[in-house]
Symmetry: C2
Subunit: 318 residues, 2 copies
């Protein structure tokens, strides 16, 4: 694919165009992802998540500085998938103001699209792959929302940093187990505010009460991203976690899981398309469809009819 | 089904048990939904959504008072699907404090489960149906988060109330089109705070600039839910919207769409199960699966192989 070759050659414009195609779930996505596949696996990916106002953008910005000082290149994906109440424009402006905007070794992309049901994690994953194939050493994914989609996205990165602020102490008891499990590193940001020490202790207690299923002990760090306090230490912890993932075989396992997950998603998508085509060509199934629409049959009884028909036609095996 | 019969007889305990089964996506769900199907279609459903802190719970509470004063029964579903940062316990406690907790004509259920990918809107929909079959005249669905899942849920109710607070004025420009389209009624709550009038005007301007695709003009109301100001007027607007949906044929159309959507979801779910069973029985496909896991083949090439195999076996038609 010509666009992919140009991108692999190091041109940013083709990269941007490819990302746009992926975002729009273009029919060319399978072809694109096939073409970049041989060039994957080099980038290390870091996720930054947390509630609104926790300073995630600043944190991602400062981590980028540390990474750039090590001579590594960076791709940043800022995802604002879900909230209909705050828009992508604000996010884009905020990012554009940051110091790395003019650094050619830093590629920043914000994805503010509403995204189709369950589709955004896969889209984000594919954009991560493009940045990987493009040659970025580190890919940082910042999620702005705090929902299921963000948790799904965080499951696809190598190291997840959960960012909180001292005021979060009040609600810390209500944090769900799912979050504990995804947090490879906890950051208490804006730690110059009152309550920071208390929150660190509470998080330590939580970690002890519900240890993770792997052997990683999530560290809890106090930072002041705006004042550059604690960022170097934070990145050291990221490197330690990377080392842990590699030596324990966890990284390999994670990537195997991701490949299987992607395959299943792709199969499902294809299946759905095939199914609607099959139905349209079939008078009996179109009649069933009309019955469902009118409410003459409940969806689950219709499903049984449909399944019987499919089996009798030899679809889906015996 | 015995449990359904008891529930239809008016007992709350079987209703609670059925909701739990639906929430857990029990294998009995299709049977349950089939059994209640003949008793559906009576309840009118109202959604209350908006950003955190907008007073949605109080609003739902006060609407319930108005509805109860008309002698109608109410079911309330409080959905907190996504945020891993605030938990269901807080929500449950808040609701339990409310005045309607002891009223047998008001059934309150909070659903704080994380939910599977895309599954929560369908689960919520099924719980709405149970409350409908149970005989509730009005079902109120309150979503606490502000994400894609909430938008999906709002698409399944008859009237959606989007609740904002005066302070939202600053970010109003960034509200996404999707939200405008789902808001059948805008409420500026806590309207005693500064900025309320300005926000009302801004919303009116927005409505003029991007009119809805149907003929409904979403009214914009100022309320103070805590002080019982504007609630009667709000409910009058709900009734007007119900009248509009009925006379325009929109309600019928909406329910047709819902039935089709439910059918498709059910078919997809079944398909996924069948597919994994087919794969497990097939050496060639299991070998492909292992290749995907190891990364020896990219997911999209694997998809093509799989599709060829499926076609050559006569699955999925010709």
């Amino acid at each position: 694919m010509e666009l992919v070759e140009k991108m692999l050659g190091g041109a940013q414009r083709p990269l941007s165009r490819l990302i746009t195609l992926v975002e729009r779930e273009s029919p060319e996505v399978p072809e694109i992802m096939k073409a970049v596949y041989p060039y994957l696996g080099k980038a290390y990916t870091i996720g930054v998540t947390g509630p609104p106002g926790a300073g995630k953008s600043t944190l991602a910005d400062k981590i980028t500085t540390v990474v750039r000082n090590k001579g590594l290149s960076v791709g940043i994906i800022a995802v604002d998938p879900t909230s209909p109440f705050t828009g992508g424009a604000v996010l884009g402006d905020r990012i554009r103001m940051q110091q790395h905007y003019l650094d050619p070794q830093v590629f920043i992309r914000s994805m503010a699209s509403r995204g189709s049901r369950g589709g955004l994690p896969m889209t984000t994953r594919n954009v991560m792959k493009l940045l990987d194939a493009f040659g970025k050493d580190i890919v940082i994914v910042e999620t702005v929302g705090v929902g299921q989609t963000e948790l799904d996205i965080m499951e696809t990165v190598d190291t997840t940093i959960v960012t909180l602020v001292p005021e979060a102490g009040d609600t810390i008891q209500t944090m769900k187990a799912g979050l504990m499990e995804i947090a490879d590193i906890f950051v208490v940001n804006k730690a110059d505010r009152p309550g920071a020490d208390k929150l660190v202790v509470e998080l330590q207690t939580m970690m002890m009460l519900s240890p993770r299923s792997d052997d990683w002990q999530s560290p809890i760090l106090a930072t002041q991203a705006l004042n550059d306090v604690g960022i170097t230490e934070l990145y050291e912890e990221v490197e330690k976690h990377e080392e842990f993932l590699k030596s324990s075989g966890e990284l390999l396992h994670k990537r195997e899981q991701q490949r299987k997950e992607e395959f299943i998603r792709a199969v499902e998508q294809r299946l759905r398309k095939r199914l609607s085509r099959l139905m349209k060509d079939d008078d009996k199934l179109m009649a069933l469809w009309a019955e469902v629409e009118r409410g003459d049959i409940d969806p689950y009884s219709a499903l049984e009819v449909m399944e019987d028909e499919a089996v009798s036609r030899g679809w889906l095996g015996k």
